[in-house]
């Protein structure tokens, strides 16, 4: 079932970088890597689940919207700084943000990301595609 057509994973204590094909079957892998990274940080299960949801929605957008024709690459990177700040970047090289009135999705992906992340940043790099960066404060009490 898992077609990891290109997986180059370099996990280390402070982060990881994944380069995957933009396929639905690859999205659970990203959550898996994320949970591994967050294990040592003392984050609550609820916080980890929230972060997994926000990152899943970002990956889902790359899979569902970025490549109308052939799936291209998605790069997911996660970095822990000072043990309490997590930055996750999801970057595709697809069509760029294209607002669609008749989106096949539920339309809650971006607001879910914004609601969970302490900061959500969306860039449209000059060389095409979309870059989504989310920052999560891992300190307890922070929301």
């Amino acid at each position: 079932m898992r077609r990891v057509t290109s997986g180059a994973m370099t996990p280390n204590s402070s982060g990881f970088e994944l380069e995957l094909a933009a396929l639905a079957d690859n999205v659970p892998l990203v959550r898996h890597a994320l949970r591994g990274l967050l294990e040592g940080t003392g984050s609550s299960d609820e916080r980890v689940s929230d972060i997994a949801l926000a990152v899943t929605e970002a990956c889902a957008n790359a899979v569902l919207h970025a490549y109308p024709d052939t799936p291209g690459p998605v790069e997911v990177s996660a970095a822990l700084s000072a043990g309490s700040l997590l930055t996750v970047t999801v970057r595709d090289h697809g069509s760029g943000m294209a607002p669609r009135v008749d989106s096949p999705g539920l339309g809650v992906g971006l607001p879910v990301m914004a609601a969970i992340a302490d900061a959500l940043e969306i860039d449209t790099p000059a060389d095409a595609g979309t870059l989504v960066r989310m920052t999560f404060d891992l300190r307890p009490q922070a929301s």
């Binding site: 639905a24 999205v27 659970p28 959550r31 609820e46 689940s49 899979v63 999705g105 809650v108 992906g109």
Partner: protein, 120 residues
């Protein structure tokens, strides 16, 4: 991924088809869930979706559930979602964030969902 992530359909009692979703589900399994729900809705039975052992869903899975519920409503098919204490935070959280908890026709246990669906 561990095989605890599963979607299983069964005729739990006469006239009630139960689709049991366990573990975590996202866009990689949403199409399979949709297939099984479509088949259940086509079976002529009442339909229950058991989320009691579901730990995580994303918005593509939520969308499949919402559409199935709407479809059942339009076709006059009894439909219930079992969503209770054992349901994972990763399911309840998305429903809460999106305000959909009230809109899925839930019952707090699998047995209650089956009884509700059978009675409709």
């Amino acid at each position: 991924m561990p095989d605890v992530n599963a979607i299983v359909a069964e005729r739990a009692e006469p006239g009630v088809e139960v689709v049991t979703v366990t573990g975590e589900h996202d866009l990689s399994t949403a199409p399979e869930l949709k297939r099984q729900l479509d088949a259940a809705l086509a079976s002529g039975a009442a339909v229950v979706v058991d989320l009691m052992q579901t730990t995580f869903i994303d918005s593509t899975v939520l969308r499949v559930l919402i559409l199935a519920r709407e479809d059942a409503g339009e076709r006059g098919i009894a439909f219930r979602v079992a969503l209770g204490e054992s349901t994972g935070y990763g399911v309840r959280r998305l429903l809460e964030l999106t305000g959909m908890e009230q809109r899925l026709a839930t019952a707090p246990t699998r047995a209650a969902a089956i009884a509700d669906a059978a009675a409709l």
